[in-house]
């Protein structure tokens, strides 16, 4: 904006004009200024719309968070967080759901992190531009676009039925792992790109092989960025509902999971069941708000940690 202001001679407005003695140049100048003023006013009005659009986003987020928090905090008690549901899920706590969601989220990362990091290392360190690279990238971007319910169908058909796992943690973890893979690949690539080439060159110049360079120089330097991506992937997996509906989650199981082949309860699925299919939807509203609050705190908390951590990393690199 500053640039445009200097286009008009700043003295022209201040110069006193004796009445009736305006030269042609003055008239021209003042009309130019009028046009310019109008253009600036239009700009101001239009920019206000843009600002409003940005504000609406903030309002949207805070509306959801404050509403859920305002209604949910009353439900949060020690018992709520540490007990199993009772009385056909109309009372009691959500401990099995919290444990289940943590199992699924961590399991998904355990599956997706090694594969995702290795893929990203290949894409960023080894691959040369060409058809193969284009195809792999197309595969990743399409995998990222697959609807979550289709992942659910895939998990049901492949892990649950074809491999005979039945509905269990393992099937859910593998399905969620496939879903978080593109997230991990994307963030790992970003982390690898931020490692300066001079690191690689210095290592190679010292006689290290390519693999030694990657393993001992590039990966350690990129590690914080990779872990940030892992947290984001974990939060994504923890919040998903559709992929675990057919593969791992059940309405109700009183016991905590004992093996990879147990069925489990999960926070997102618990919210869905209570809100749409519970025995008494209105009576369990407090439980629904409470469960939503726990899920939001879990997911947004992990995201906040990742965002703050990443901001620090970027500052360090600068």
């Amino acid at each position: 904006m500053e640039e445009t202001q200097t286009l008009i001679n700043p003295q022209s407005a201040a110069r006193p004009l004796p009445a009736g003695t305006r030269s042609e140049a003055d008239i021209l100048e003042s009309s130019v200024e009028r046009v310019h003023q109008r253009r600036k006013r239009i700009q101001q009005v239009l920019f206000m719309f843009f600002r409003t659009a940005a504000i609406i986003n903030g309002v949207g987020l805070f509306a959801v968070v404050f509403f859920i928090a305002g209604r949910g905090w009353k439900a949060i008690t020690w018992e709520f967080l540490t007990q199993a549901p009772t009385d056909s899920m109309t009372k009691g706590g959500i401990l099995p759901c919290i444990v289940g969601t943590l199992c699924l989220g961590i399991g998904a990362i355990v599956v997706a992190l090694p594969i995702g990091v290795a893929s990203a290392v290949y894409l960023n360190e080894y691959a040369r531009p060409g058809r193969v690279l284009r195809l792999i990238r197309l595969g990743i971007s399409n995998l990222a676009g697959v609807p979550s319910v289709v992942f659910g169908l895939f998990g049901l058909a492949f892990f649950v039925i074809w491999m005979g796992m039945g509905e269990c943690i393992l099937a859910g973890v593998l399905t969620l792992g496939a879903l978080t893979l593109p997230v991990i690949i994307g963030s790992t690539e970003e982390a690898l790109k931020s490692v300066p080439d001079t690191y690689r060159e210095a290592s190679l110049a010292l006689g290290a092989s390519k693999w030694q360079t990657i393993y001992q120089v590039v990966l350690p330097a990129a590690l914080p960025g990779i872990l940030t991506g892992a947290i984001l992937g974990l939060s994504r997996a923890a919040g998903e509902t559709a992929p675990i509906m057919f593969t791992a989650a059940v309405f109700y199981t009183p016991s905590l999971p004992t093996s990879l082949f147990s069925k489990i309860m999960a926070l997102p699925y618990h919210i869905y069941v209570l809100a749409t299919a519970g025995t008494n939807i209105e009576a369990t509203r407090p439980l629904q708000y409470g469960t939503s609050l726990v899920l939001i705190v879990l997911v947004l908390g992990m995201n906040l940690v990742a965002i703050v951590w990443r901001a620090r990393l970027r500052k360090k690199l600068k």
């Binding site: 893929s119 609807p147 509902t241 869905y272 749409t276």
Partner: protein, 297 residues
């Protein structure tokens, strides 16, 4: 010694390459298993009757497997949500990339990211307990769980996608273009609308398509707030049943490898190809109309 090292390097390279193929392999497996479980339905109904059949009564006797109302519902919900989320997302992106002070942008960007991180089930729940009663009261309609509500809630999901991808596109417009326009006497607004936007339009289109792809595939929101009636909607306030909602709601009750089960997988195939189409179009735009100059998307 050197040979051993070269051999290690070579084998490591091959290992990484094979792991990198995992994404394609998973994508292929998804397709194979969808087809394996979905195609048997076409022994009962023709492909044409399945896609263009107007009645979806999978549990009546004899059952009707026509997913046309579900397809129309999915497209309608996606388009209406695009009407809301495209201006909102693109304008926010422009604001963040061009207008906002650094400090404001530093706060707003995490807000958009957190919006993207909200679990879909929570947005669906919010739509059920807040937006639905509000719409019902305001418009005096029988149910607040309808097409409009679903589109509104879907915008929550697609705005962050559209916003962050558009922002990247705007950032990668060469500064020289912008400065040239300002030096010629254009105002900031004129520069924005005549120089920056045209220069980043391919990136913004990609962002919009990917946002819509996210909306059409989103499950929990439409499952919880769209209303669930498998009819072709005649107004914004009609309850609808988009494809993902139908799959998620009915899979539990469909008998194993019965007709209904196969029909739901076939619906999954249709849905999968919709998103695949969106993604391939987005990829083509990004490649064909790649931004020139210093820009690299």
């Amino acid at each position: 010694m050197t040979n051993a090292r070269q051999r290690t390097d070579q084998s490591v390279r091959i290992i990484f390459f094979s792991v990198a193929l995992a994404s394609i392999a998973i994508l292929a497996m998804i397709m194979i298993f969808l087809f394996m479980e979905g195609l048997p339905i076409f022994k009962k109904v023709t492909f044409f009757d399945f896609v263009f059949g107007k009645f979806w009564y999978p549990t009546s006797d004899p059952p009707d497997f026509g997913i046309f109302p579900l397809i129309v519902a999915s497209i309608a919900v996606t388009l209406v949500s695009a009407v809301i989320s495209v201006p909102l997302g693109v304008m926010t992106a422009i604001y963040l990339a061009e207008l906002a002070h650094n400090r404001v942008a530093e706060i707003m960007k995490p807000v958009v990211e957190l919006l993207a991180a909200l679990p879909s089930v929570v947005i669906g729940f919010f739509g059920m307990v807040v937006a639905a009663p509000f719409l019902q009261r305001t418009f005096g309609i029988p149910t607040g769980l309808n097409l409009f509500n679903a589109a509104l809630m879907l915008s929550f999901m697609s705005v962050p996608t559209i916003c962050s991808l558009s922002e990247d596109a705007i950032y990668s417009v060469p500064v020289a273009l912008k400065e040239g326009s300002l030096a010629l006497g254009a105002t900031h607004w004129e520069t924005l609308i005549r120089v920056i936007l045209p220069a980043s339009i391919s990136g913004i289109s990609t962002a919009i398509i990917l946002g819509m792809s996210r909306a059409i595939g989103e499950t929990m929101v439409v499952l919880m707030v769209a209303g669930g009636a498998a009819m072709i909607p005649s107004s914004l306030m009609d309850p609808v049943r988009p494809m993902p909602a139908s799959i998620a709601a009915e899979m539990a009750e469909a008998s194993f490898r019965g007709d209904h089960y196969h029909a739901l997988f076939a619906t999954g195939i249709v849905l999968f190809f919709f998103t695949l189409l969106f993604n391939i179009i987005a990829d083509q735009i990004a490649h064909k109309y790649r931004q020139t100059g210093e820009a690299s998307l």
